[in-house]
């Protein structure tokens, strides 16, 4: 912070003439300091500023590290504006310069003490005159023993830059002027060329230099005053650059590029320890010119002519120097460091993400900001105005009508200065080259499309897959994660997820939606765009990305739901994965939930023996992949007739239960067919009655366009499945 002190030209004042609130507070607090602080006088500098001249007796040891005395005269300048913190200056003519925690001022004296790191806005709640006076005393006492700088604090920079050089990729050869005194390296050849020179010098004591550096002469003198010949440190670097240019026969622009000199200065923390500090100097001098100063003249671009060194004060003064703070450009490495993920395992995973909508885009950008992963982004959709309400991209001007994957990929790659971080595939998943997906370590489906999820489950074999989506009202996040071995593919997890909804009363209303508040654009339960606020996306995309990283570390399958309640707390549901039984009939695959269906109906049969019993099979059919998933049952209704050689299923309550299941699962689970048991030690072949019933089932199935299904259950859980109407 720059603060300037000018010798007051105002009048001596009496204490009761003080007007500034801070002046009054400070003066009234002096008496509390038991004669260790005395007021020598007060005056005003102008109508806004008042000066309090203080004599302070800090507690200083007889062998202090810094020359702070047992008696110091300090002037405090207060402002009429209460929001300005009073400033404190040490008036002693030989008060040490370059101490840590002093402010940079136009003139080196009087030394301006940097008492607070915080602004008045931060301090005002604890502010008092005595707090301020105590802060001055503390400053003096701790500076005396060099303890003001806490151990966990960084040391003072050697010299403070007035702006910054944002240094990106090492291959950048050009620089761009940003606003203020900021520059940024670039690979854009339209911009000015530069050479980055790195110089490492010998260690220096901690403390800020309070000298102005405007030109190369000032810079050389500054280092001279510290016993360092900057010219000598720089020379080999410049000559090396020159030789490099000659060897590669570099063109004119190489010799005309100016210099950004990064100087690494180890700052001494204590006797044996140093802490590196880096400062950048923009030297307005071409490589050719500086070589010339060192006595080397480039003739054409091929020859070098050596003369004597041509340094002179006049020449050095003519070369403008800007002091800049070197700022590393954000890249993957820094993103990982800043987010603390640099040591995460799986951080380099190759991830394919399908669906860059609201959830997918925010999930991706969360992880991109972590520098996590290496991505293939797949989405065929373009960004339209309504998308920006909940999309990671907010750049409606530039991104409208752009492909979602392309827009996000560009944004992330630019953020991390890395064109390899993500690649966009503006395509439908089914038209995408399968090898792109197959070469991934993991595939994340956030397409909200059952079709995409079923495609992944059925068409892409190897990589593990994960599917995540929000429920229609945006209150719940679902994440289905395959196991590493692929024993529980996404489609199986999806069907079990529906079954959990009908069995878990805590998840009531999960797939419900009110038509008036939603716009349904496709048939799938997730193909709904609704009035979900961005906050929900923020919460759930955060959970999704965090959970995703965690899942990479485990190898088992998961079905998880997070539910946001009215008090904004999130409840996590984690379901045990069911076992499934697979039967192939003709070109159809029947998947039967062993845990939930076979075990339940076997138990039911045992309870009803010696009578036959039965019920309704609930599940879903994928006619495209020819798969039947049976996951649930309605056990024999009350009005069923159950005899030792006869079972006629009743209808009591069946209609209501089917309606409930349809409603809860958003029509994803439905009536599939019938099951019944045979008596003990009987075959699982169809009886005459069974054949009649199966013929009826087939007729009904033909009507609704799905296979007819009958399951006959016998002893020891044995069963037989009968399918018909397979050519649908």
């Amino acid at each position: 912070m720059e603060q300037d002190y000018t010798e007051p030209s105002g009048e001596e004042l009496k204490v009761d003439e003080l007007k500034n609130e801070h002046s009054k507070q400070i003066v009234s607090s002096i008496s509390a300091f038991d004669n260790t602080i005395k007021l020598l006088g007060v005056s005003n500098a102008n109508e806004h500023q008042e000066l309090l001249h203080l004599n302070i007796l800090p507690d200083i040891p007889n062998n202090p590290i810094n020359d702070i005395r047992q008696e110091e005269n300090i002037v405090v300048i207060t402002s009429v504006n209460k929001k300005n913190l009073p400033k404190a200056y040490a008036l002693r003519k030989d008060f040490p310069l370059g101490l840590p925690h002093t402010n940079i001022t136009k003139d080196e004296r009087p030394v301006s003490l940097c008492l607070f790191e915080e602004s008045f806005e931060e301090l005002k709640h604890n502010w008092s005159g005595s707090f301020f006076l105590q802060s001055i005393k503390n400053w003096l006492e701790l500076t005396a023993i060099d303890a003001l700088h806490r151990e966990d604090q960084h040391l003072e920079p050697f010299i403070i830059g007035n702006g910054g050089m944002i240094m990106g990729n090492n291959t950048h050869k050009f620089f761009d002027k940003l606003s203020g005194n900021f520059y940024k390296s670039t690979d854009n050849p339209v911009k000015k060329g530069f050479h980055k020179v790195f110089v490492s010098i010998t260690p220096l004591e901690n403390g800020v230099v309070h000298q102005r550096v405007d030109n190369l002469f000032d810079l050389v003198e500054l280092f001279n005053s510290k016993g360092i010949s900057f010219k000598n440190f720089l020379k080999p670097k410049i000559l090396e650059l020159g030789e490099f240019g000659l060897t590669l026969n570099k063109a004119q622009d190489f010799w005309e590029a100016i210099l950004f000199i990064n100087v690494q200065i180890p700052i001494i923390r204590d006797r044996d320890q140093t802490e590196p500090s880096l400062i950048s100097f923009k030297v307005d001098c071409t490589l050719g010119e500086i070589l010339n100063l060192y006595g080397f003249t480039i003739l054409g671009t091929k020859n070098i002519h050596q003369t004597g060194e041509k340094f002179s004060e006049k020449k050095l003064r003519a070369i403008k120097v800007e002091i800049l703070n070197p700022i590393p450009d954000l890249d993957v490495e820094w993103a990982r460091k800043y987010s603390g993920t640099e040591n995460s395992s799986c951080i380099d995973s190759k991830i394919s993400l399908i669906g860059l909508g609201a959830l997918g885009s925010q999930f991706f950008m969360n992880l991109a900001r972590n520098g996590f992963g290496c991505w293939s982004l797949i989405d065929k959709d373009v960004l339209l105005p309504h998308n920006f309400i909940r999309h990671a991209s907010t750049n409606i001007q530039k991104h409208t009508s752009l492909n979602k994957a392309e827009a996000l990929s560009k944004e992330a790659n630019e953020l991390l200065s890395d064109n390899e971080f993500s690649k966009a595939f503006p395509s439908d998943i089914s038209s995408l080259d399968k090898t792109i997906l197959e070469q991934s370590d993991i595939i994340v489906d956030m397409s909200t499309s059952i079709g995409a999820e079923r495609y992944l489950a059925n068409e892409i074999e190897d990589p593990r897959k994960l599917s995540s989506f929000l429920n229609p009202s945006g209150t719940d996040l679902v994440m289905l994660t395959e196991d590493k071995e692929g024993d529980f593919p996404l489609d199986i997890l999806e069907i079990q997820y529906y079954k959990e909804l009908i069995q878990n009363s805590d998840l009531v209303g999960h797939l419900e939606f009110e038509q008036t508040n939603k716009i349904r654009y496709a048939r799938g339960c997730r193909d709904i765009t609704s009035k979900i606020p961005q906050e929900n996306l923020s919460i759930f995309s955060g959970i999704a990305s965090k959970n995703f990283k965690k899942k990479l570390l485990s190898s088992t399958a998961y079905i998880e739901i997070w539910r946001l309640d009215e008090f904004h707390s999130v409840k996590h549901f984690n379901f045990t994965i069911d076992k499934w039984h697979k039967v192939t009939i003709s070109d159809w695959t029947v998947l039967i939930n062993e845990t939930n269906l076979l075990n339940i109906i076997s138990k039911h049969r045992n309870n009803k023996l010696p009578n036959e019993t039965g019920g309704i099979l609930i599940g879903t059919v994928d006619t495209y992949y020819k798969k039947i998933y049976i996951t649930h049952t309605i056990l024999s209704p009350k009005d069923s007739i159950e005899r030792p050689t006869l079972f006629i299923r009743g209808i009591d309550g069946v209609s209501d239960e089917l309606k409930r299941i349809s409603q809860i699962t958003n029509q994803n689970l439905k009536y599939l067919g019938e099951w019944h048991s045979h008596p003990r030690r009987c075959s699982l072949n169809m009886s005459g009655d069974d054949k009649i019933q199966f013929a009826e089932l087939t007729r009904e199935a033909e009507l609704i366009g799905q296979p007819a299904l009958m399951l006959i259950l016998g002893d020891d859980g044995e069963f037989q499945i009968y399918l018909n109407n397979l050519k649908i």
Binding site: F33, N35, D59, P61, N63, P64, Q70, E71, I145
Partner: protein
């Protein structure tokens, strides 16, 4: 144990000081006046500073430089004498684990029986007899006695002894933590009955207290404490220390003005008497030499009443000027002036950076943690 420090209490012309080492508390002399307006409550502060054993405050060492009243006033009232088992809790007296005295306490016939010096003499005899009789309790804390200087009259048979030139690095059988004491005086001649008669000051114990830095080898602070020793004793101290190459034992960061800032440190008194044609106003070179063993930022503490520009002696204003010439005004402290200004004892905290004079009142953070004064 709390911070390392040395404390000089405001007791007017007189001495009470407390050295707090890492693992020991050492009181030198006492002058504890009745507490009333503007009289600092020395006892209360001592009780707060000292450690407690079985609920009883104790000092690891009490050094009696000499037994003049301004160095032992109200000793009997505030320090326990006799066996520790006879301690009466309600008296709140301080137990002295190890008592250090010079020989003259037993050689002085002028001690009146009702004085505090007599109380000390009785306690010294009690402890001395334990050694004499080789009583098994002689080494217990509360019974221990150490003779500083020589035992010319065989009054201290079997009593442990530290003589000038000794470096003492333990007490009560326990080594000090990064601290020791160099014994300068008394010299043999100054405790011999015939020489000391009428001037107990010459028998004063003089020591240099030496704090070491955390590295255990470099000094962090050295303090010269001279009781009431006059310029003759100091000349001998200088001569012997230099002769024996013990000049590091003369160097000081803090110097307690002998005899309450009187002129006797610099020369004979009276300072000047034109009628009698006496002029002792020129300080002895040996005394100035002692002062010039000062180290960087060294401080002088005048343990006396307010030093003012008058004819009083002690404290003596020309003596004060000599000290100020050596260390500068900001490094000259007077216990009374300091008390008037800051309402506390002169206290230096000692760490690797040396001695820091703590003027400031305890910060607000400490409010409520100290025992308040009695309310009535």
């Amino acid at each position: 144990m709390s911070k390392k420090k040395i404390k000089y209490y405001p007791v007017g012309n007189g001495d009470t000081s407390l050295i707090k080492v890492g693992n020991a508390n050492i009181i030198t002399d006492c002058k504890i006046r009745e507490v009333k307006d503007d009289i600092y409550d020395v006892k209360k502060d001592l009780i707060e500073e000292l450690e407690k054993r079985n609920g009883k405050s104790y000092a690891d060492i009490f050094i009696l430089t000499h037994h003049d009243n301004d160095h032992c006033q109200n000793f009997g009232k505030h320090f326990h004498t006799g066996k520790v088992s006879s301690y009466v809790s309600s008296d709140e007296k301080i137990i002295i684990d190890e008592l250090w005295v010079n020989e003259y306490i037993l050689g002085d016939d002028d001690i009146s029986d009702d004085s505090d010096a007599a109380v000390i003499r009785k306690e010294v005899k009690r402890r001395r007899n334990l050694y004499k009789n080789n009583d098994s309790s002689k080494d217990e804390r509360g019974n221990r006695l150490v003779l500083i200087g020589y035992d010319d009259n065989s009054n201290f048979t079997n009593v442990p002894q530290h003589i000038p030139g000794d470096i003492v690095s333990e007490a009560n059988g326990v080594s000090f933590e990064k601290f020791d004491l160099f014994i300068h005086a008394p010299f043999k001649a100054d405790v011999v009955k015939s020489n000391a008669i009428g001037d107990r000051n010459m028998s004063s114990v003089v020591y240099q207290a030496r704090f070491y830095k955390n590295n255990g080898t470099d000094y962090s602070c050295r303090i010269l404490h001279g009781g009431d020793a006059d310029h003759y004793r100091w000349a001998t101290i200088k001569e012997k220390s230099e002769k024996n190459k013990n000049t590091d034992a003369l160097e000081w960061d803090i110097f307690q003005t002998p005899h309450h800032c009187s002129w006797t440190f610099f020369n004979d008194t009276p300072y000047k008497d034109d009628d009698k044609d006496i002029d002792n106003s020129e300080p002895k070179q040996t005394s100035l030499d002692i002062l010039n063993y000062k180290l960087t930022g060294a401080k002088v503490v005048a343990t006396s009443k307010l030093v003012v520009d008058d004819k009083d002696n002690p404290p003596h204003y020309p003596a004060r000027n000599e000290y100020v010439d050596v260390v500068g005004k900001t490094n000259f402290e007077n216990t009374q002036k300091f008390y008037d200004d800051h309402k506390k004892a002169v206290v230096f905290e000692i760490n690797d950076y040396g001695a820091t004079l703590k003027r400031a009142a305890t910060a607000a953070i400490g409010a409520g943690v100290q025992k308040p004064s009695r309310a009535g």
